[in-house]
Symmetry: C2
């Protein structure tokens, strides 16, 4: 039996409405599974070495449901563009570089290094269309200690030719090679995920082929949905037979139900689409930083919460300028306040505990029992030394956590990260 | 003649519409005044030692037109409140502590230390109502090397009794003592500024008394204006004779013209008020982070720019969670995109160069010829080592500056700060 015991100031959100706090307590994991929090250590653990983080914060690892590894290199640049222009001027030229495995090694090395340093323990990641580079990314992610899904991107229209599959069948075949090779490499923490970029870049034929691949390998799916008005209009034109944007994926079996699916954004999802998201059990990756930077808008997160929709947060680098999920937590709160102020006075702003919940247990559910310190949850822990930012007064544990997230203590205060 | 020469990658915004860049060039100051930028150093400077920052970015220091020093201690906490509740529950209880000079020494020490480390070279600062603590803050600011205006706050209603002047005349008398003592201390870079908190906390009588003090000492003025709908309504009730919120200050000679004045926020300023701001030459301190955190809204910055209104940025700690003006630059851009998307499709989003301009030359104009590297401007320089965040590709100088601001290189990449 492998038992790990941590001592410190413990905080997590078993439900969305409050932070549960345990000052100076012990958090116990047996074989990577949480066995409880104790203010005094039970006798049976007396002989176990305690990892002593007294005075430090112990919180669940952050979950990033949506991040583009190849965009990490140009985060924080070209931010004066809107989505479709930004894709054309910034994203596609950069992603084309990943045909060169030497460049990919350099750039993905920096990405993986930063993910390792970050407070993120679980991530759902876009690669590029390139099989070799994406496998290299998986090798690197496996070494970071994070748990991740990584997808070779599929696209066969509406992008520079060097970023397109040579055909729908060829794209599917290449994806199968990618999946087989990724399985052959026997990763413990890194799994492939089916990744049609988004409807504007995928023909019906490609989606049909990918649907077969999905069934064959029982893969999860990630893509983008209803991010930007221009994109939503484009999808209507490209697939007039779809009742709404989500239906365009669902027609091909790439939208929830058997296919565990996460869709980024959902800024412009309404009535029927929201219903479909719920019915099909799709996760939403809410990416507020990106939705602001690319002038997309504000997703109706309160409505999604009230509808009981599965949801977590995404950094969406490089639409978002940082991989920090702490930043996604505070941006979720910030934009929800503007949504309340300008768009829907009935949509109460998202609270700190709600947003923290989304970043941990909310997104964590995509991975299983992840993102909480309740009994039975998988070990996924970040230890923060929040004293790196001094303060003159006594603070409660709740205040220390809120402050650490708002002031970005993840940048220089991470003392340990532990995962299964 | 005291000549200072810096070598590096120079970037600034002489006008709002573009970043002017000078890769690997020399920036020359004589007696603290800019004498030009040279790609090759002129003969006459041949004997002068060059401060060599080759490969580093050289930009103007950031100007913070609105920050509350006593709120620094609780930044990033209690952010689920809206303005008026937040004042009552968070701000006033903390500000009351500054009656205790020992606490003030500790807390202001941390504030001054961080301001010194930051990219900010010029700041307009609120203290509290307490004379002694505010003088202590001025002592500390003088030692940071920043240029600042610091105000003892005036308030005589609608706050806990320990934060109120004992009367309007007593408040004015105490303010005179504060001014006299601050002048007696002979600071070189730290000046007093008249600081009526805002209309809800100031009776007409107090404003009348302060108006006399202002004239007597020819002081500049700082306050808050049209931040939040609840506050705007309150002002209408409290001073029904004022035609609009700004008029409430102007009736007492505390709104521009002879009184050099900066007003924070102006989220809800409309028609006549905007006219008055312009006519009276008042500076707006745009504080986007705070306006989001406190659910205030989004100021019509594009309209202010088109009207040629004087404007700079404010961190508004602790409405804003950070003193970083880099963050204020990117938040200015971010909220302007949402303003364009949801409120006024004619109000083009603020560009990076426009926002950088506001943070430097825009706000700098409150201090004189500050915030640019044009000839005749005062020395105010920040040197950034942007290599602290690695990247795999070649970047232009413009890209490096945008990236440094978006990724917050001010947190750990500042290599030097030089001011007059």
């Amino acid at each position: 039996m492998d038992t790990i015991i941590l001592r410190g100031d413990i905080c997590f959100t078993p439900d969305k409405d409050h932070l549960e706090t345990h000052p100076d307590s012990y958090l116990v994991f047996e074989n990577g599974i949480c066995r409880g929090i104790f203010s005094k250590l039970p006798e049976k653990y007396a002989c176990i070495h305690v990892k002593d983080y007294k005075g430090h914060l112990i919180i669940p690892g952050m979950v990033d449901l949506h991040i583009h590894a190849p965009q990490f290199a140009f985060r924080g640049m070209g931010m004066d563009y809107e989505l479709l222009t930004w894709l054309k001027n910034r994203t596609f030229p950069e992603e084309a570089k990943y045909a060169d495995t030497e460049y990919a090694a350099l750039a993905y090395g920096m990405f993986a290094d930063q993910m390792k340093k970050s407070a993120t323990t679980h991530a759902v990641i876009f690669g590029t269309i390139h099989r070799e580079a994406t496998l290299m990314l998986m090798d690197m992610m496996e070494n970071t200690g994070l748990t991740s899904y990584v997808g070779k991107v599929n696209m066969d229209r509406d992008a520079p030719v060097e970023l397109l599959e040579s055909g729908a069948r060829e794209g599917a075949a290449d994806t199968i090679s990618f999946i087989n090779e990724s399985l052959r490499r026997g990763y413990k923490k890194t799994k492939p995920i089916l990744t049609p970029r988004f409807i504007p870049c995928c023909t019906d034929e490609l989606l049909r082929e990918l649907s077969k691949v999905r069934i064959q390998y029982d893969l999860p799916v990630q893509s983008h949905l209803s991010e930007n008005p221009g994109e939503v209009e484009l999808v209507k034109k490209l697939m007039p037979q779809a009742k709404f944007y989500a239906d365009a994926y669902d027609r091909f079996g790439l939208f929830g139900k058997q296919a565990k699916t996460v869709m980024a954004h959902c800024v412009y999802s309404t009535g029927e689409e929201i219903e479909r998201i719920k019915e099909n059990g799709v996760w939403i990756a809410h990416c507020p930083s990106s939705n602001v930077n690319l002038s997309s808008g504000i997703a109706p997160v309160r409505k999604y919460i009230e509808n009981g929709i599965r949801m977590g947060l995404g950094s969406d680098v490089a639409g978002g300028q940082t991989e920090s999920i702490f930043r996604a937590i505070t941006d979720t709160i910030g934009v929800s306040k503007l949504y309340w102020r300008y768009i829907d006075a009935d949509a109460k702003p998202i609270t700190f505990s709600e947003s923290f919940y989304l970043a941990t247990k909310g997104g964590g559910s995509f991975f299983g029992k992840v993102g909480s310190f309740e009994e039975g949850y998988e070990m996924s822990v970040v230890v923060l030394d929040d004293s790196v930012i001094p303060h003159p007064q006594q603070l409660s544990l709740e205040e220390r956590v809120e402050r650490s997230v708002y002031l970005g203590v993840d940048v220089r205060g991470i003392r340990a990260k532990l995962c299964i």
